[in-house]
Every structure is written in C-alpha cells, then in structure tokens.
C-alpha cells in the first residue's frame, strides 16, 4: 500500500524519461500531471484508511533487505508523517501544473520532479534509519539538476551551494545515525529497535546536536540558512514550491522523528537553547525580509521565519505545541506554494520581481487583478490573519509553548507582527498604486495559471475555518511522543514567578 507512494512515481519518472523525443513538451507535461494526479488520489485513499485514534505506526510494510548493514525495507505511517505525505503529493502535482507549457527538455524535467516525489515519500515513510538516509540523499542530485538547468541567472552558483550544504547535512546525519546505532549496540537500523536509554547523557547530547545541526541545515536554522535565499530565488517557480514546500519539511520532520523521538531524555536539556534559537531565527528571517527589494527573496526569508516557530514549538514539546508544529508545517507548505506560484506568475507576466518597478497590479482591466487578490490572500495567510490556516497553526503553537517558554513565544509573536509589516510593504508596492501607462501591456493570465493558486487558496481558507481537518490527524501520535519526554525545566516560568514575589 505505502510502497505505491514511493515506487509509482519512480517508475513514472523512468517512463517519462524514455518517452520518444518528438513528443511535444505540453504532452509530456500532461502525462506527468496525470501520473502525479494518480499518486495524489492514492494518497487520499490512504488518508481514508488512516486510523486517527491509533498513535503508533500504521499500514506497516516490511521486507528484509541487507542484514549485514542492518538495512531493511520497513515502512510505516503515523500522525507525524501522514500529512507530510499528502503535502508532498499535492505540491508535486501543483508544481507540475504550474510549470510552463513550453518547458525546455521536458522529459528530464518532469522525470526529475517525479523522482523527487517518490524519494521524499520514501523519506517520510522510512522506519529504518539507513533507509531514511538513502531517500534523503536521493533528493540531492535531482534537486541540483532542477535548480541548475531550469533556474535564473545565477543558477550554477545556487545549485552548487545547495548541493554542498545538503551533502554536509547528509554527512552529519549519517555520522549520528552510525554513532547512535553502534553505541546503543542495536542489531539493525530499524527505528523501533533503537533505544538510547543506556547511553550517558553527554553522549546523547553529542548525538542530538549532530542531528539538530544536520537537519538544521535543511530546515534551515539561522546560521546555516545561507543556501536558502540563493536556491529559492534562482529556482524556477515549480522547483521553489517543491524546495520550500516539501524539502524544508523533511528537515523539521527529521528533527521531530529522529531528534525528539530517539533522544527524549536529553531533549528537555537542549530545549531552552532550541527555543531561543528558533525565536532568533524567526526574528532574523522577518527582519531580513523587510530589507529585501526582490519579492521572491522576501518570500524566501519569510520561510526562514516561519520555520523558526516550528522549532520553538518542538522545543516546548507540550501536546498542544506539537500539534501546532505539524499544523504549521502543513500550512507553511501550502502558503509558501501559493506565494511562490503567484510570484512566478507575476514574474512571467510583468517581467520583473523588483519592488521598485512593480506597481498597481490590482488594476482591474490592465493589471492582474485575480493574481493580486490571491497574493493579498496569501500574504495575509502568511502573516497570521485569522480565518486562514496560518493563524490556526501559529495560534496553537503560541498557546502550546507559552506555558513552557514565555519569552521565545513572545518573540515569535513579535515576529508575526513583523511578518505582517513586510507583507504589507510587498502588497503595497506591487498590488496598489498606479500602473505605468507606457510599460503596462501585460499578457493575459490563462486559466491554467490561476487554477493552482485557486485550489491552494480554497485549501487555506477551508483549513482556516475548519481547523479540525488540520489537527485531527496528528493528535494521538504527538500525545504519545510528548509522554516520553520528561517535563522541560521551566526556567523562565520560575524566573517570572520569582519576579512576582
């Protein structure tokens, strides 16, 4: 059942790659779209089979693979991963949909996207550390090619930078995995056979730091984020959607699954540092976004900020904050996808991304009114305006983590405020104002370009007014995860209490 999610896209990728050369690009795109749509439907079917009351792994699959290495083909899905899988298949479909009809070298392009889709599904499903790592590294080369063949002007630089950062992240993760498995004396890399109880606290902390830094590069956390603006900005819109929507989730998912899941005892020791780190990341991301002159860069830095909230929520590790973290991963994925798609449309129609040149796109006749309206909606969702999914996720996070880390939570609230600031700047400079009479002869926006954004907008509003559909999947899993963690030292709470006395 679950294997279909991995192998169907990979086989589809092979199929697309060997299509005859004379088939035009739009036909290849249509084929890839159909195949990817089938995967999405299968994912919906799995969602219906998913039992939300059960906290453990479901629909497990197991095949022995390589006994010597302790590598087995073990898959499973739980509340932490089910929504990530859905996000992955949905955004892959949207990425293919939002790609241009005349993509150059279409067979390679769509087969790489399908390959990435299968690999990411594998990483979310893997219950074996080495299997996870295999799928994690599988993203490396396809994304490198996707950035450096179909990217912007500085794509070669951005591609290599992405490649090296991700490779280093992989190395750190592999080293910690090897260390964890060997030091605990586990016979295999299977997730459920590893128990870190026997290790000394110092060793556990060293391993956990390896995991945090390894996944922190991918998330990305602040000092390790410098690949992100280049890669997001230089990548074409569909690739940026996949990079920000799916690949970044692999980092946060890995942090929760392998950091918190494998090292529950020391998690609370590092939690205060992580919370402050996350808050600093959030503030940094938003402040830097304010200073940008390029709308794609703004959106890229907004991603740094939003991932900071997830870190704060994971550090707090209350039942509520973890539900919020999962919800934020999903809503950030959707919101980033809509923003990148719209920015891509604006760039192709208007021909620029500069804040100083864009103006008056809201104009109903000669501007891009629907695109601007959706951009306003996306910006509001990102800034945490109630009624949309971003607000729900952020509010659950703040609610869940305030009792543990009041100060970082307050900083995050400030960051949300600042997010509103730069999105208002962005919307003000692009959508409002007057059109330049001499230059404003923009091509028409086709319906096929509007549809992905409309689907995402509907999703954003639906999950915003009916948030149960966002949170019900992960509740039982996160509750069990939290139960394994000793209560976090409430340093700041005590500090505040002492102030009162």
């Amino acid at each position: 059942m679950l294997s279909v999610l991995i192998w169907f896209p990979i086989l589809a990728a092979a199929l697309v790659a060997i299509l005859p050369r004379k088939i035009p690009a739009n036909r290849v795109r249509l084929g890839a779209l159909t195949l990817s749509g089938l995967v999405f439907l299968w994912n919906i079917f799995l969602l219906l089979k998913f039992d939300i009351t059960q906290p453990g792994m479901q629909l497990q699959e197991y095949l022995p693979w390589n006994e010597t290495l302790g590598l087995s083909y073990k898959l499973g899905v739980d509340g932490l991963s089910i929504l990530m899988l859905l996000l992955n298949t949905l955004l892959s479909w949207i990425a293919i949909y939002s790609s241009s009809q005349q993509t150059e070298r279409p067979r390679l392009f769509y087969s790489l996207i399908l390959l990435v889709n299968g690999g990411t599904a594998g990483a979310f499903l893997a219950e074996n550390l080495l299997l996870f790592f295999l799928f994690y590294e599988l993203e490396l080369i396809p994304f490198y090619l996707l950035i450096s063949i179909w990217g912007g002007e500085k794509r070669a630089y951005a591609g290599i930078k992405f490649l090296l950062y991700t490779a280093v992240s992989g190395i750190l993760i592999l080293a910690t995995f090897l260390g964890t498995v060997w030091l605990t004396g586990s016979s295999s890399f299977n997730y459920d056979t590893i128990s870190t109880q026997t290790l000394s606290a110092t060793l556990q902390i060293i391993l956990l730091v390896g995991i945090i830094v390894g996944f922190g590069i991918k998330i990305p956390l602040v000092p390790f984020h410098t690949w992100l603006p280049d890669a997001y900005v230089e990548a074409s819109a569909p690739i940026a959607i996949l990079l920000g929507g799916v690949l970044a989730k692999l980092g946060t998912y890995g942090l929760l699954r392998f950091g918190m899941g494998l090292f529950p005892q020391v998690w609370s020791i590092l939690a205060p540092t992580l919370a402050i780190w996350g808050a600093a990341s959030a503030i940094y991301g938003t402040v830097t976004a304010i200073a940008q002159k390029d709308i794609k860069r703004m959106v890229a830095y907004s991603s740094v900020g939003h991932m900071g909230y997830i870190l704060v929520a994971s550090a707090a590790s209350t039942a509520l904050s973890l539900v919020g973290a999962v919800a934020q991963m999903v809503s950030h994925g959707i919101i980033l996808a809509i923003l990148f798609h719209l920015v891509g449309v604006v760039e192709t129609k208007v021909g620029t991304r500069e804040l100083d040149k864009l103006n008056g796109l809201m104009s109903p006749v000669r501007g891009l009114p629907l695109i601007s309206a959706l951009l306003v909606l996306g910006g509001m969702a990102s800034a945490g305006i109630p009624g949309m999914t971003g607000f729900i996720a952020e509010f659950i996070i703040f609610q869940g983590s305030f009792s543990v880390f009041p100060l970082p939570t307050l900083l995050c609230v400030v960051a949300t405020g600042l997010t509103a600031v730069y999105f208002v700047i962005l919307l003000n400079r692009t959508c409002f104002g007057r059109l330049d009479n001499d230059l404003a002869y923009y091509p028409r926006v086709l319906w096929s370009e509007k549809i992905p954004a409309i689907i995402l907008a509907v999703l954003i509003i639906f999950l915003g007014v009916q948030p149960t559909w966002l949170v019900r999947w992960s509740e039982s899993t996160t509750t069990t995860m939290v139960a394994a963690i000793p209560p976090v030292e409430k340093v700041e709470t005590r500090y505040i209490a002492s102030l009162h006395q």
Partner: protein, 517 residues
C-alpha cells in the same frame, strides 16, 4: 617423500584458473604469430572466452577443502578466489575496451592482449601467493607487464614519458620491497613461507625489534606503490594521463585489487606481531590519500588526471576497511573493490568512447554532450555519481559498508574524515555531470559541436557498447540487489583461514609454547 604425498602437497588443481589464462595467453600469441594482423577481428573474443573459462574454474574451486598448494607457496582460499575473480573481470572489461582503442592507435592487438593477460596472471598469482619469493615474482610479473602496457602506444611522447616514470618509480619501490622481504627472511632465520615467518620471529623474541619495524615499513612502501596510496602516489597522475586509457582502467582496478590482496595476506600472516604498528602506518596513508586525492582532484582539467586523483582517494577509502581489521572490515574492502570494478570501468569506458569520437580528454570539452550522445552521458553520470557515493547506486552501498565497518571497529575519526572528503569528492564528480547535462546548447564545446554521428557498427565499437551497458547496469543495481554480493564477500572472508582470529592466536600460542624449554 613418496610421490603420492608429494602430489597431494603440490595440489596443482588450485592454479587451474591461472593455467587456463596461461594457455589463452599462449594461444593468443601463437594465433597472432601465424595469422597476423587480420586476426585482430576475433582475437579479443578468444581471450575473453579464456578469461571466462578461468572464472568458471574459480567457481569450481570455491570453498575447496585443501587450499594450500605448491608446498605452501600458493594459498587458494576463498579470499584469493574473490580477488582473482575481480582481476579476471577487470581484464575482461579491459579487453572489451581496448579492441577499438588499440586498433585506432595503429598498434598490434595480439601483443597487447598477451601482455595484458600476463599482467592478469601476475595479479592472480599475487592474490594467493604466500611465500616471499613467489610474492616477489608475481609482483614483478604484474609490474613489468604494466610498464610495457603503459608505453605501448610508443609514437605518443606522453606514453613514453609515462612508461619511463612508472618504470623508475616502480623499480625503486620494488627494490625497497625486496629489501624489506630480505630482512624478513633474515629475521626469521631463513623462512620464506608467510605463516612460518611470524612464528619464527615470535620464537626468536624479536617481536618488537627495530628490524621487524624496518621490514614492515619497506614492505608497506612496496604495497603503497601498487595501491597508489599517498605519499607513494606520485606516479598515478602522470601514468594515467600518458598511458593508453584501457591500460589505466586495468591499473586502477586489477592492479589495485592485486595490491590490496597482497596487503591483506602479507600483513595479517607475516606481521601479526606488529598489528598496532601497521595499522598506525596505514591510518596515516589513508588520511593522506583521502585528503590529497580528493582535494587535488578538484583542480584537474583533464578527465584522466581527475580519475587518477579520484582513484588515489578511493584507495584511501578502501584502506579504512583494512585498518578496521575485523571480518566486516575485510568484507567491506572486497565489496568495495567489487563495486569499484563496475563503476570505475564504466567511467573509463565512457572516457574511451568520448576520446575515440572526439580525440580529447579535457573536462571542459564535455559540455553539452547530453544532446549528441545520451547513452554516454547517462553512463558517465551514473558511474561518477556512484564513485561519489550517491544513493541508490553501488558506490553508496560500498561506502556505507566501509564506514559502517570502520565505525564498528572504533575508527571514528577516520570515518568522519571519509565522510567529509566524500562531500569534497561529490563536488568534482558533479562538475563533470554539470558539463554534460546542465550546459545549454549555446554553451556546447567545439568537440561536441563536431561530434560524429553515434554509430555502434564500426569495427570494435560493439564490444565497447556491451562493456558500457553491462557495467552501467551493474553499477546501477548492484547496490539495490547487494544482498547476494554481501553474502558472497562475507562468506569469502569467513571461510578464509588466515583471517580468523583463532588462527592468529593459535600460532602465537604455539609460538609461546615452543619458547618454553
């Protein structure tokens, strides 16, 4: 000694594979002598048939109950069979590659194959040699054939220069090796069998003497030359650049495998008393090789030189398994050499194809190749990515196993260094992939603009295509379907007497018992 006893000690069936190779060699020479140049159409296939027969004989000898033959001079245990198999396979692919290449250079194919088969023979004997003189003879057979092959295209000044350099460095390292061997002979009081040497030295109470350490270092210098470990690597880039490409394909796989076979056998049987010392020396060599090989490869502009430095680095990775010194360590070495065979030969086949069609080896000339020759692009990309350790290719599993074995043996820093240098290596491997795949139509190099129509029907191209496709498939799926290969290499190590800890302990115990009056 009666005849039956003598024959059983001789146990000549053990060298049946080598016998077959030798007959093939003679056959090739004689056919070439009688028929002349026209035989070059089919003489390559004759040699390949002989090599496959040798492989069949190796299969027949697997797990033989009585591996010792020739009164202790040759050990046909499973370890040697694995290494002989690797060497034979690398010779098969080398012949597939060389049919067109040698023909195009205007030299004779029969002699080339004869020398190559001699080198194969030397490497095969080296894999199982367990007597000092025999080790030296097979090592020199391999070396002298390698010098001859290096300078085979004698109209090319670079080939001449490479042969001379290789001969000078090789001869001096052989001399150093021979000096070490003669010291061993003296220290052990006149023993030449490897197992007897360790015994005799420990009985004589010289287990920590200076002489033994000097002998060890000299022997390692000889081995380090063969496996091109830094700082004995200096010949590698020049020879790889100058020699005919099929020859360096063989040198990078077959000759290296023979060197590692020698290292395992010699160090574990003759030097069990100074294990700490040789592990220390090899740690230094591994660190130097990984760092130097990977860092210097970054700056290369010629494909062959880049592959030379990458092969130095790969030798550094393989040494992690040797240093680990456990069963898993040796298995991971053999496994890595096996997958290295596929990926490196696949890479070299593509390099040969490209240079046959364009006449150049510069990395920058590869730009835009994907449009003209997709199969070549795919083959070279897959093999280079596999060398860089990208999943799910064979090299990824090979590296994981090496690192896993190293980590298990507590070599944390070495494994971490290996991981870091792997990242460095990804950069220079991906550079070539970038040239071929990423570059646009207008960035195409001159060589690719004038690329000839891809045709496999020209004489000698079909075997190249077969070699490319087979090694490409092996590189792609040997990782995913690695379980049978893992079982094979693990069995080969587990069934090898000399690598079992009990064997070493019992020799030492018996030595101590003998010491007591």
């Amino acid at each position: 000694m009666d005849f039956a006893n003598f024959a059983s000690q001789l146990n000549a069936v053990t060298i049946l594979p080598e016998g077959i190779v030798m007959i093939t060699l003679l056959g090739v020479l004689i056919v070439d002598l009688i028929v002349g140049r026209t035989s070059s159409r089919w003489i390559g296939y004759l040699a390949i048939a002989g090599l496959f027969a040798a492989l069949g004989a190796l299969y027949f000898l697997w797990d033989s109950t009585n591996p010792m033959s020739f009164i202790g001079a040759f050990n046909g245990d499973d370890l040697s069979i694995m290494f002989r198999g690797i060497i034979v396979l690398s010779a098969v692919v080398t012949i597939l590659m060389s049919i067109r290449y040698i023909e195009q250079s205007g030299t004779a194919l029969g002699e080339f194959i004869a020398i190559l088969l001699t080198a194969t023979l030397g490497g095969m004997f080296l894999s199982g040699a367990s007597e000092l003189v025999f080790i030296f003879i097979s090592l020199e057979t391999l070396s002298i054939s390698s010098y001859l092959l290096t300078g085979y295209t004698k109209r090319d000044p670079r080939s001449n220069e490479a042969a001379l350099k290789y001969l000078l460095i090789g001869a001096s390292s052989t001399a150093v090796f021979l000096y070490g061997v003669s010291l061993l002979y003296g220290l052990s009081g006149g023993r030449t069998e490897l197992s007897a040497i360790a015994n005799a030295i420990s009985i004589a109470g010289m287990s920590q003497s200076l002489g033994l350490v000097i002998a060890l270092v000299f022997v390692i210098a000889g081995i380090g030359f063969k496996i091109s470990a830094a700082p004995f690597h200096q010949w590698t880039p020049d020879v790889y650049e100058g020699a005919p490409t099929p020859v360096i394909a063989f040198l990078s796989v077959g000759s290296k495998a023979a060197g590692f076979a020698l290292a395992i056998r010699l160090l574990t049987t003759a030097f069990p008393l100074v294990t700490e010392e040789w592990k220390f020396v090899f740690t230094a060599l591994a660190v130097l090789s990984m760092v130097l090989g990977n860092v210097v490869a970054l700056a290369q502009t010629s494909m062959k030189r880049m592959l030379a430095y990458s092969s130095i680095a790969q030798a550094g990775f393989v040494m992690i398994g040797l240093i680990a010194g456990t069963d898993a360590g040796y298995s991971s070495m053999v496994f890595y050499l096996l997958v290295y065979l596929f990926m490196n030969l696949c890479g070299f086949t593509c390099v040969i194809l490209f240079s046959l069609r364009t006449g150049t080896d510069q990395i920058s000339e590869y730009s835009g190749l994907y449009q003209k020759d997709p199969l070549l692009t795919l083959g070279l990309s897959i093999s280079l990515l596999s060398l860089g350790g990208i999943p799910p290719l064979a090299g990824f599993f090979g590296k994981i196993y090496l690192f896993w074995a190293g980590w298990q043996a507590g070599q944390y820093w070495l494994v971490l260094l290996g991981l870091v240098t792997t990242v460095v290596s990804i950069y220079y491997y991906i550079r070539v992939v970038k040239m071929m795949v990423v570059k646009e139509q207008h960035e195409m190099s001159d060589a690719v603009k004038n690329y000839p129509e891809v045709s496999w029907n020209l004489p000698g191209y079909r075997p190249l295509q077969v070699g490319l496709v087979v090694t490409l498939i092996a590189t792609s799926i040997a990782g995913i379907l690695s379980n049978p290969l893992f079982t094979l290499v693990n069995n080969s190590i587990a069934h090898t007497q000399i690598l079992q800890p009990t064997a070493v302990v019992s020799t030492q115990v018996s030595a101590i018992n003998n010491q007591q009056p």
